[in-house]
Amino acid sequence: MSEPRLISSYLAVLADQLPASIVEELADGLTETHRSYLQQGLAPDLAAESAVAEFGEPQEIVAEFARVNPARRAARRLLGIGPLVGACWAAALVTDRASAWPVPFTVRILIGAALITIIGLLAASALSTRYRLAARAGVAGCLGIAALDAVLITGVTFTSAPMTWVVVGAMLASTARIAFAARSLVPALAR
């Protein structure tokens, strides 16, 4: 039995926005729904209309899949713990007079720009109802925050910055965040 055009078009809209494995599952469900309406005696076109109406708006389905995307969930958690890690570094920078650390001005600017970009990526992922944007921005944000934390830890270790307990605390907070980001990336990249 050939697939009615309405169902093909509906699945094409989903295929533009969702991974193939998800679309395959939805196609199976939609085909079964259509078949059920045919068995109830509806004409093929009316059965297709009923099946599509029962399934719901494609954008609503895409938005629901975006909400459960592991990368988006990781982005939301990283945004949640971000202020805590940031506060640790802020305490280290203030108490240890970071302005006197031997870090070139350009590097400071680059770190600030990277942080703003990463927050933007994580926020885009956390708020997006578009699956691919939520997934890609989330993965990029996770990688970015892990890289930034690694740069901070490495930088503090290899500069002549004083290693006080506040600095060590900030480095531990960053290490924990790297571990969280890495763990979050596994399910996010598996999809």
Binding site: I22, A27, D28, G29, L30, T33, F55, G56, I61, V68
Partner: protein, 112 residues
């Protein structure tokens, strides 16, 4: 029942639909429809992301098979899912008994 009213209970309903054995997405929807007397008013396409969410939470597992030339994803409860369903069922029975008692103006039964 409207979608908004269902949302807080959807996880328990989906877990209950899988209690009798593995089911694919459409069969889960059919089971929900039968068990709710056809009063389920939810875009059925949104059941699939909910199943993925439960899978990520480790409450169900999904596996692929091929049926009639189409790939089909089937879900089954995990041990954690069975425990979660028992907990949600007990919570719901307590909650509904409390609300029923309050609405009918009779003493609330003590929790089980």
């Amino acid at each position: 029942m409207r979608a908004e009213e269902l949302k807080g209970h959807l996880d328990a309903l989906l877990l209950a639909a899988l209690e009798d054995g593995p089911r694919h997405g459409y069969a889960v929807i059919e089971s929900l429809r039968q068990n709710t007397g056809g009063r389920l008013d939810l875009p059925t396409g949104t059941i699939y992301p909910a199943l993925r969410r439960l899978e990520q939470a480790g409450l169900i597992t999904g596996s692929w098979s091929v049926v009639g030339g189409r790939r089909r994803r089937e879900y089954k409860l995990t041990a954690a899912g069975t425990r979660a369903l028992s907990g949600k069922r007990a919570d719901w029975l307590d909650f509904s008994a409390m609300v029923s008692a309050a609405l009918e103006g009779r003493p609330c039964p003590s929790p089980a």
